[in-house]
Each structure stands twice: as C-alpha cells, then as structure tokens.
C-alpha cells in the first residue's frame, strides 16, 4: 500500500454532495497535483460525517482537523497554507457559538463529543466505495468468526444477550425474531433489510447505507446464517439514488471477494443479496406491506398472525430488520452481546441514531447511548435554538410520533420512557420546534400526512383520520367548538385501538400528544379565536401594535401587496382591504409587533 502523510476525508453524504462536495474534491485534487503534493496527500470520499449543518465538510488526518463550509475558491489558499506549509487555516475552522471560539479538532467539537458511534462506527473514517478499508476496520471479521466458530444457535443467543431491539420503530427484540425465524422448518427462508425510510425529516438509514454499506451486508449474511436462509433482499427507497449506487458497488465488491455467493470464505455457506428500489409509499415501511410490494403486489398490511417469521415473503419464513439494526449486528458478534448491553438503559441497550432537524443550530445525524436526555440532544449536541427563539417542542418518531414539551426535556430517551410519555422512538427522526410553531397546525400537518399515506384498507385509519383532519381544519379556521377537543381524543383512542396495522395504531399520536401537552393552544384557537404562535392565518388580525413597533419599516419592504403604510419615525399600519394574509410582515418583524 502506498503511504500518504495526510488524508483529506471529504464528506460525500447526500447533504454535503448537494452543497458541492464532489466539485470540491475535483478542485482539491487538481490543486494538489499542481503543487506536487499528489503523492503525499490523499483525497478520500466518505459517507455522511453527521454535521450536515456545516457542509461541505472535510476532516484532515492525522491531526483530525475539522474544516467546514468550504468552497472551490478556498482551495488554493488552503492547500498552500495547510497541506504544504502545515499551517491550519483558522477562517475555515468551526466556531463554537456558546464560547465564540474556534475549535480546530473534530474530537473537541461538542456536537461530536457526546456521541458514541456503534452503528456509525466507520462514519467519516472509510471510503464507502472501498471494501478493503471496511475490512481494515474489522469488516467481515465477525462474519468469519460466525461461519467458522459459532453455531446458528450461538449466534442467535449472542444477539439475545445483547438486548438489541429493532431500530425501525417498534423495538421488537431482534434475537427473539431470529430465533422465531430459525424455528420454522420451511425452505427457502428470506432475510429482508428494511430501508424504506419514510418519516419526514428522517435520514438515518440513508446515511448508514451511504457511509457504510458493507456493515449492512455483513449483518444480513450473519442473519442468514442464523436462520439457514440463503437469499436476502434490500428494500430501499428509489429516492435514495446515492445509497442504491453505493449498495450496488458494495454488493459487487463482496461478490468478487467471495463474501457473497456460493461457499462464502470456503465455509460451505451460500448467501446472496439483491436490491429492490421501492416507489416511496409510506405504508411500505410496514413489514407485511413491504413484503407484498416486494412480491409485486399492492403494498398493504395484512392481519397478523401469522407473523412474517412464520409466513412472510412468498409465504416463507422471513426475518425483516431495519438498516440500523443490521449495522449493529457485526460488532455484537465480534465483541460479544455483553459488550453491547453495557451501554444503555434497563430495557433499551446500545445506542440510537437520530436525525436532528428543525429549528436547532446543529442540524445533522447523531448517535447517542440509549438513555441520553432530550436536553443533551437539543442543547449540548444540537447547540440550542437559533435566532434568540425559545424551545417549544420536539417531535419524535415521525408522523406517528408525538410532540414533547420543554417540561419533558429531561426525559431519558429509550423505548419505554417514550412510550410512557405517549410518544414513540420511531425510526429516529427528531424535529425541534421553536416558539413560532403552532402546535395545532403541526398536529394538522402530520394528520394530513397520515391521511395522504393511509393505504385505505381499514376503516378507522381511512375514515377516522379524515374526520380528525376535518375537525382540525375547522379549529385552525376559527370555527372550532370546545367539544371538538374531546371528539378528537375519543376518536384518536378508537383509531389507536381498532386500526389494522402499526401505522393506523400510531397515526393519532401527534393530535393526542399536542392535546395532552399543549391543550391551552387548542383552547386559544377555539375560545379566544386566536393563534398564539401567529401561524393560522384565519386567526390573525394583521394589526400593528403601535407601542411595540420600532418604526423600522421592514414590514413595509416585505409586503408584496403594498398594504402597509409607514414613514420614518411613525409606526406602521396595515390596510386590511389590501392584505392577503401571507404572513411576510410577521416573519420580517423583529419585534413581534404584528398580531
């Protein structure tokens, strides 16, 4: 292997690629060449680094220096200063907002400090398209250990000891699922990787597939060995072209090395994997619907039992695991179930990957031990709320999750504590909302999503959710009645109890949780006919508070209809006849003078 003194790890996750990281790589390479550094400095393309808010990102090793928001114009200076003369360039370093100081090293940045990487153990450290680099970091070592020194029962037992639970949302114990799948003696059996990530704002699975596809393949092969299955399918959204591209490369490389196919590593065990791009229906993330979709049928859940482990794909025993679950498998077999279980809470072991988005400073992908508090996630890792706004709620678990208020920020995030709070882990989307968010409108948005995505097979979900949406629409238009709150609660509970699949059973969660924690906002909409966050346009007066107005004129500039009259040193006024209620003035006003 050729030795380079410096490795430049350029992030090529979807986030950084969309802000130009591949173009950056080309500029870097040509500049290094021009400076005669091509033999000393190597440019490596990695998967998602996680700190998407600061992209495009580049990390320089061996020092571990973190550069952010680089542009092609920065490259000549950077190459001369740092890679030739060894002087890190301060202006491209990350600046910590709380202390307003530059933090040169990745390991010192708070965003990374609180994280523990297990599923994402190779993130930013390997070239996702190079199987050798995966192997160098203990890749496929678990597989060879399993194939040559463990029985399938021992493999399953190790997973049971680890306490690993499904990372796709429901949290079903993985070891138990594998044991079930092993028990049924009907062949062929199948292993499915569920990469149909559909929650708004969630991108955990995509990042794992893009950054470390081999970890998922290795997990699937091990699962196949435990079940005596020889065929795996990866169901991944067609909207994830980069993930599919890298998976294809990974599968091809693994086949060439004999890590997929016949007689893997000379062990006599056969296993192969194919990719199935899904068309992007939310319901196809549900396991039985996913299997119908794989069979070429309409994606609709079916009644269980029988469970998929007994009769799944093509009616055969099938184990379906989420991407992140499978990525956790190889280290468990290599280091032991007890190693995995040493981290986490009583009922939830290990770590969880979250996609942190919304109104938070550090948007990105994080992995933290189970039991980490929301406070740590939002403030220490997320860096708090931007633009001097206040935290209002965090939406956890996607469209069937819940909105948790500030009073629950000290909740330790795991499967059980979230369940108690009326929320759910879901696949790991965390959307932070500030005080300019209307909780009724948020509940309405997610209900609207669930109505759109309902497959329509069962009445409670198809009709019930539609009725809930109508009631919510009425409330945000100012036509609500106090009885509506009780109607929503009653109907929500009916839908939860009587729906057919997991999606219907959880779809009322956003409404129920916002009523539970933000009931006063519902009451303000219904009784006071006002929207405290100034979001629901039918309930805003569009009136300038003459005392709060600082006479700056920003609202007048923002108004597309010239409905605002303002002159220097006089408060603004809105001519209501011309106003189209677009909220541009509300967003422009820094003093919250418009009501």
């Amino acid at each position: 292997m050729k030795t380079y003194r410096t490795h430049l790890m350029v992030c090529a996750g979807t986030g950084c690629v969309s802000c130009g990281s591949l173009n950056l790589k080309d500029h870097l390479e040509s500049e290094l060449k021009a400076r005669g550094l091509s033999d000393e400095v190597r440019v490596v393309i990695t998967g998602c680094n996680g700190f998407c808010a600061e992209g495009p990102i580049m990390v320089v090793y061996p020092e571990g220096i973190f550069y952010k928001k680089l542009t092609p114009d920065d490259i000549p200076f950077l190459v001369e200063e740092h890679f030739l003369k060894g002087r890190p360039v301060e202006k491209f370093l990350y600046s910590e907002p709380t202390i307003k100081e530059k933090v040169p090293l990745l390991k010192d940045i708070p965003f990374f400090q609180y994280q523990v990487l297990r599923a994402l153990r190779n993130r930013g450290l390997i070239d996702a398209e190079n199987i050798d680099e995966y192997i160098a970091r203990d890749g496929y070592a678990a597989l060879s250990k399993v194939l040559f020194s463990m029985t399938p029962e021992e493999v399953t037992q190790e997973i049971k000891i680890s306490g690993l639970r499904g990372r796709g949302g429901a949290g079903f114990p993985t070891g138990l699922k594998w044991e079930e799948g092993r028990r049924y003696n009907s062949f062929p059996k199948y292993v499915i990787c569920n990469g149909d990530e559909g929650d708004p704002g969630a991108f955990m699975d995509r990042s794992v597939l893009e950054a470390d596809p081999h970890s998922v393949l290795e997990g699937m092969i091990i699962c196949g060995y435990a079940l005596d299955a020889h065929q795996g399918h990866i169901y991944v959204r067609a909207e994830y072209p980069l993930a599919i591209h890298r998976l294809n490369i990974a599968i091809e490389q693994a086949r060439n090395y004999g890590l997929l196919g016949k007689d893997i590593l000379g062990s006599g065990f056969d296993f192969d994997i194919s990719i199935y791009p899904g068309a992007g229906a939310f319901v196809c993330g549900e396991s039985t619907a996913l299997m119908y979709s794989l069979e070429g049928k309409r994606g609709m859940p079916r009644i269980k039992p029988p469970r998929s482990t007994e009769a799944g794909l093509w009616g055969q025993p099938t184990v379906l695991n989420n991407v992140e679950t499978l990525a956790n498998v190889p280290p468990i077999l290599l280091k032991g179930g007890e190693w995995f279980a040493s981290l986490g809470t009583v009922g939830s072991k290990g770590t969880k990957v979250f996609a942190l988005t919304g109104t938070v400073n550090n948007v990105g992908l994080i992995e933290v031990p189970m039991g980490t508090t929301l406070q740590t996630i939002v403030y220490d890792i997320g860096g708090g709320i931007p633009e001097k706004r206040e935290f209002k709620a965090v939406q956890i678990g996607g469209p069937s999750g819940a909105c948790l208020p500030a009073s629950l920020l000290n909740i330790e995030v795991d499967f059980d504590s979230l369940d108690e709070a009326g929320a759910m882990m879901g696949s790991g989307g965390l959307v932070v909302m500030n005080d300019s968010t209307c909780m009724v409108d948020t509940a309405r948005f997610f209900t609207d999503f669930s109505v759109d995505e309902s497959c329509g097979k069962c009445v409670p979900c198809r009709v019930g959710m539609k009725v809930m949406l109508n009631i919510l629409n009425r409330i945000v238009e100012g036509k609500g009645e106090m009885e509506d709150i009780e109607r929503l609660e009653r109907l929500g509970h009916h839908i939860k109890e009587s729906s057919h699949c997991g999606l219907g059973k959880t779809a009322p969660n956003p409404v129920l949780s916002t009523i539970r924690y933000f009931r006063n906002e519902y009451e303000a909409h219904i009784q006071g006919k006002r929207c405290p966050a100034l979001v629901c346009v039918d309930l805003i007066q569009f009136h300038v508070d003459q005392e709060k107005c600082k006479m700056c004129g920003l609202c007048k500039k923002a108004c597309p209809m010239e409905a605002i009259t303002w002159e220097k040193k006089t408060p603004a006024n809105i001519t209501i006849e011309k106003c189209i209620r677009c909220r541009s003035c509300i967003q422009a006003c820094k003093f919250r003078a418009i009501e």
């Binding site: 090793y61 890190p88 192997i135 160098a136 590593l265 000379g266």
Partner: protein
C-alpha cells in the same frame, strides 16, 4: 473484474495491508516527524526529506508514525529542518538535513528511540494542532 474467492487468511492479509491507511485516521501514534515546509525549507530541499521519510514508512510497513508539515521555524539558514517527537518525550529539532541524514534519524531515533546528537539543534517545538 473477477477475483479469486477469499479465504479467512486473505481477509486477514487485506486487513493488515490496509491497516496502516486507516490507522492514520484513528489517532494513537507512537511518534511524529514534522518537516518544516516554509519557502526556505522547500528551497533547501525539504521535499526530498519528505519523500525519503514516506518511503521508509512504506517499505517498513509502519503504521504508528505520522508525518506532518509546518511553516518556517525562523532559522532559515539551517534548513532543511525536521522535528522528531516520540510520544511522551520532548521533541527534538534537527537541522542542516539531507536524505541520508533523514534516513539515519529514522532508524536511530524513530525506530530505536535514540536521539542522533550530531544533527540535533535543540529540544522543544513550536505549536501546531
């Protein structure tokens, strides 16, 4: 591209071969060689030192030594210069180097841990990250 199927031994071999590449990104080094790459250093032949060091590392398959660069140390007349640091011990600056001297320092200081007095200028180092 069709390759021969791997065995467990092949897997271990690939791991060992590529290990030096990924180890560079993981920290935990035993020693560091810093080559001074100011305009003066480059003019005096620092690039040759760099090539010599990288070649040594490559040929000896070493994965616990890192190579960094820094700017002018302020002593332009004594370039090319390099600073060698065995972790936990004070760094040593060497001056008036050439490729042969650099290789000698590599064997004596980096590998055997014995400072080469004859080429040494001083102990101590400027700060880089």
């Amino acid at each position: 591209m069709v390759m021969a199927k791997l065995t467990i031994e092949d897997l271990k071999r690939i791991k060992e071969e590529v290990r030096s590449t990924t180890a560079l990104r993981e920290g935990g080094f035993r020693a560091r060689i810093n080559i001074h790459m100011g305009t003066c250093g480059i003019a005096a032949g620092a690039r040759k030192l760099m090539s010599a060091v990288l070649k040594e590392i490559e040929e000896r398959k070493i994965n616990d030594v890192i190579v960094t660069t820094s700017g002018c140390a302020g002593l332009c007349s004594r370039e090319p210069m390099a600073t060698v640091e065995i972790l936990g011990k004070p760094p040593v600056k060497y001056c008036d180097l050439n490729e042969d001297k650099m290789r000698e320092i590599f064997t004596q200081h980096i590998l055997k841990g014995e400072m080469v007095e004859a080429y040494a200028l001083a102990r101590g180092s400027e700060t880089t990250y």
